[in-house]
C-alpha cells in the first residue's frame, strides 16, 4: 500500500537512515481559504536539508497556495509553518535564507536577463558567482536579451537563477521545469541535484510524474488541500499490488486474455487497460504467469514492446489516489 497517513510528520521522521536530517521546513495543519473556497485543509509536511521534497498534485490541489504561505506571501488561516526550526515565514531572517522561484516568474520585462540576475545578487553579501550560475543554467546565450523576448524555458531558467543567486539554505521551486525543452530540463535537474548534494533543502511542486520520480527523495501527494500519501518514490510505488504491466503494438482482447491466464494457471487474474496499448495484469505474478502471458501474445500475433513486473509507476499510484477524471 502507498504510505497513506494522517500524521505525515511522524512518518517522515522514521527515515531509513540513523539520524534524520534536521527539519528545514515544518508545516503542520495548514489551512487557507479564499472566500468560501477552502483550498488548503490541514496540510502537514516536513522538508529536510540535503533532500529534494516534491509536492505532487493535480491542478487546484493547493500546492501553490501552500508554498506561498511558506514564502510569507500569504497569511495562513490556521496551522503552523516553521523554517529552520524557529524562523517565521516572511521574516527578515527567512527572506535572507530562503530562495524562491515563483510560478509566474517574477521578472521585470524591460531589463536584460543578466542585469536582472546581477541586481538580485546585490541584495546578498556573498552571492553565488554569477558567471558560474550563468554557465550551469546555459544563460549565456540570452544574457543580453530583454526578459520580454525570452522563451518560456529561458524565463524559467532565469527565474531559477534568481532564486539561487543568494545561495539559500532552503529553496522553493514552483513547477521549475514547466515549458522547458528536454535539454534545459536536464540541466535544471542536474543543478537541483547538486544543490541537494550540497546540503540545501529543496521543495518543489510539480504535476510531472517523471520529475517527481527521478528527482525527489520524498514525495507528498496532495489533493483537495490535504496530503493523501507520502514517502520516497520507491516506497510509494512498491505497493503490495504486484502486477505485470506491458505495452504492445496491437490491441489485446482483455476478457480473452484474462480467462486464458486464469484457466492456464488455475488462479484468478484481472487485466485492465489504463490507456490504449498498455495493459496491467494483476493476480499471482510468478515466472509461469510471465511465460503464459508471452505464450498467449505469441498465439495472437501480438508483439510485446515493453514489459515490467512488480511495482506500479508513480503515475499509477497518483492516478489511483487522485482519480482519473479530468478537472
Amino acid at each position: 500500500m502507498p504510505a497513506t497517513s494522517n500524521h505525515p510528520t511522524e512518518r517522515g521522521q522514521r527515515s531509513p537512515q540513523a539520524a534524520p536530517a534536521p527539519a528545514t521546513l515544518r508545516i503542520s495543519g495548514l489551512r487557507k481559504s479564499y472566500g468560501d473556497n477552502e483550498v488548503v485543509r490541514g496540510l502537514s509536511l516536513v522538508a529536510r536539508a540535503g533532500q529534494i521534497t516534491a509536492v505532487l498534485g493535480p491542478n487546484g490541489a493547493g500546492k501553490t497556495t501552500t508554498i506561498e504561505c511558506c514564502e510569507g506571501l500569504r497569511a495562513p488561516d490556521g496551522g503552523q509553518i516553521t523554517l529552520f526550526e524557529s524562523v517565521a515565514p516572511g521574516s527578515p531572517e527567512a527572506r535572507s535564507r530562503v530562495g524562491v522561484m515563483l510560478q509566474d516568474g517574477g521578472l521585470p520585462s524591460s531589463v536584460r536577463s543578466i542585469d536582472m540576475l546581477r541586481h538580485v545578487a546585490k541584495l546578498y553579501l556573498a552571492p553565488w558567482d554569477i558567471e558560474d550560475l550563468v554557465e550551469r543554467l546555459g544563460i549565456e546565450s540570452f544574457a543580453k536579451t530583454q526578459v520580454r523576448r525570452l522563451s518560456g524555458g529561458q524565463r524559467q531558467r532565469l527565474s531559477l537563477a534568481a532564486a539561487l543567486v543568494g545561495r539559500p539554505e532552503l529553496v522553493f521551486l514552483d513547477e521549475p521545469s514547466a515549458g522547458m525543452d528536454p535539454q534545459s530540463r536536464h540541466a535544471v535537474w542536474e543543478l537541483i541535484r547538486s544543490l541537494r548534494d550540497g546540503g540545501t533543502a529543496v521543495v518543489l511542486t510539480t504535476h510531472m510524474m517523471d520529475e517527481a520520480e527521478s528527482l525527489s527523495d520524498q514525495v507528498y501527494i496532495v489533493d483537495h488541500g490535504q496530503v493523501i500519501a507520502q514517502g520516497s518514490p520507491a516506497e510509494l510505488t512498491s505497493s503490495g499490488d504486484v502486477a505485470l504491466t506491458f505495452e504492445c503494438d496491437t490491441p489485446v482482447e482483455v476478457p480473452a486474455l484474462e480467462s486464458a491466464l486464469s484457466s492456464t494457471l488455475g488462479t484468478p487474474y484481472t487485466v485492465t487497460s489504463p490507456r490504449p496499448l498498455r495493459f496491467k495484469v494483476s493476480g499471482d505474478i510468478t515466472p509461469a504467469a510471465v511465460a503464459s502471458l508471452a505464450a498467449w501474445l505469441n498465439e495472437h500475433g501480438v508483439m510485446l514492446t515493453h514489459l515490467t513486473s512488480g511495482s506500479a509507476t508513480l503515475e499509477d499510484v497518483f492516478l489511483d489516489l487522485t482519480g482519473r477524471t479530468l478537472r
Partner: protein
C-alpha cells in the same frame, strides 16, 4: 526505482553548497533597488518619452511658438511657463511613468518575488521613494537646463522655496500612481495613466493656470493635484513665495492617496 544519481561530492567552495546566506546591509539593498528602478525607466523608450521628452518638447513648443494661447500677465513668457512645465514633468514622472512601471511589475510578479528576497516589502517601498525623487530631480534638471539654454534665469532662493512643492507634488502623484497600479489590471493602468496625463495637462491647471480655464473647470482644477502643483510651482519660482493653499491641497492629496493605497494595494493581480 533508483533516485540517487552518481554525482561528485560538492566541495566546500562549491556555490551549490548550502552556507548561511547573508543579506547585504539594508541601505545597500535599498540603494541597489532604487538605482535598478531609475535605470529601468531611463532605458525604456516609452517611459523616457513620457517622463522626459514630452515635457521638454512642450517647453520648446510653448516657448518658441504661439500655437497655444496662454496669458502670461506681466511676466516674461519663459518665466511664466517653466514652473508649469516643471510641474508637468513631475506629474508625468511620478504619476504616469510610475503607475505604468509598478502595474507591470505587479502583473509580472516582480513585487511578489522581491517581497521574498532580503529587500522585502518595506525595502521596496523605500527604494521606490528614492527612485521617484531621483527621477524627478533628473527631469527638473533637464527642464531647467533646456530653459536656461532658451534664456530662462532663476535665483537659488526661488529654487529652495520650490522644494516643498516638488516634494508634495511627487508624494501626491506617486500615491495616486501606486493606488492605480495596486488595484487595476496593467493594461487598464497603461490606458488611464496616459489619458489622465493628457487631460490634466490640457484642463488640470498645470501649465495653463486654473484661473485661465473656463470658470467652472478652473474652480475644480485648482483643487486637483495638478492645479495645486502648478500654482505652487509658479508662486515659488516666479514670486519666491510659498503658496499656502496649494501646498495644503497637495499635502491633503498625499495623505489621502497614501492611506487609500495602503488599504487597497494588492500584491498580486
Amino acid at each position: 526505482m533508483t533516485i540517487s544519481m552518481p554525482t561528485t561530492p560538492a566541495s566546500a567552495s562549491d556555490p551549490a553548497t548550502a552556507t548561511a546566506s547573508v543579506p547585504a546591509p539594508t541601505a545597500r539593498r535599498i540603494l541597489a533597488q532604487s538605482l535598478f528602478e531609475v535605470k529601468a525607466i531611463l532605458r525604456n523608450g516609452e517611459q523616457l518619452m513620457v517622463a522626459l521628452f514630452i515635457p521638454l518638447g512642450l517647453l520648446v513648443m510653448l516657448a518658441t511658438t504661439n500655437l497655444i494661447e496662454i496669458n502670461t500677465g506681466d511676466w516674461e513668457r519663459l518665466d511664466f511657463l517653466v514652473p508649469g512645465v516643471m510641474a508637468m514633468a513631475i506629474m508625468s514622472g511620478a504619476f504616469t511613468s510610475q503607475a505604468i512601471a509598478t502595474a507591470f511589475d505587479r502583473r509580472n510578479g516582480v513585487l511578489r518575488f522581491l517581497a521574498t528576497t532580503p529587500l522585502g516589502r518595506s525595502g521596496m517601498l523605500w527604494a521606490k521613494v528614492a527612485a521617484v525623487f531621483s527621477v524627478a530631480l533628473i527631469q527638473l534638471a533637464a527642464v531647467a537646463a533646456l530653459a536656461a539654454a532658451l534664456g530662462w534665469r532663476v535665483s537659488l532662493a526661488h529654487l529652495v522655496v520650490a522644494l516643498p512643492a516638488v516634494v508634495l507634488g511627487v508624494a501626491a502623484f506617486t500615491g495616486f500612481a501606486l493606488f492605480l497600479a495596486g488595484t487595476l489590471r496593467a493594461e487598464g493602468v497603461l490606458a488611464i495613466a496616459n489619458i489622465l496625463l493628457i487631460v490634466l495637462v490640457v484642463a488640470g491647471g498645470i501649465v495653463a493656470p486654473a484661473d485661465q480655464l473656463p470658470a467652472a473647470l478652473g474652480a475644480v482644477a485648482q483643487f486637483l493635484p495638478s492645479g495645486a502643483l502648478g500654482d505652487a510651482m509658479r508662486a515659488a519660482l516666479i514670486d519666491g513665495k510659498f503658496a499656502v493653499l496649494p501646498l495644503a491641497i497637495l499635502a491633503a492629496w498625499s495623505v489621502f492617496f497614501a492611506a487609500l493605497t495602503a488599504k487597497t494595494f494588492k500584491w498580486q493581480s
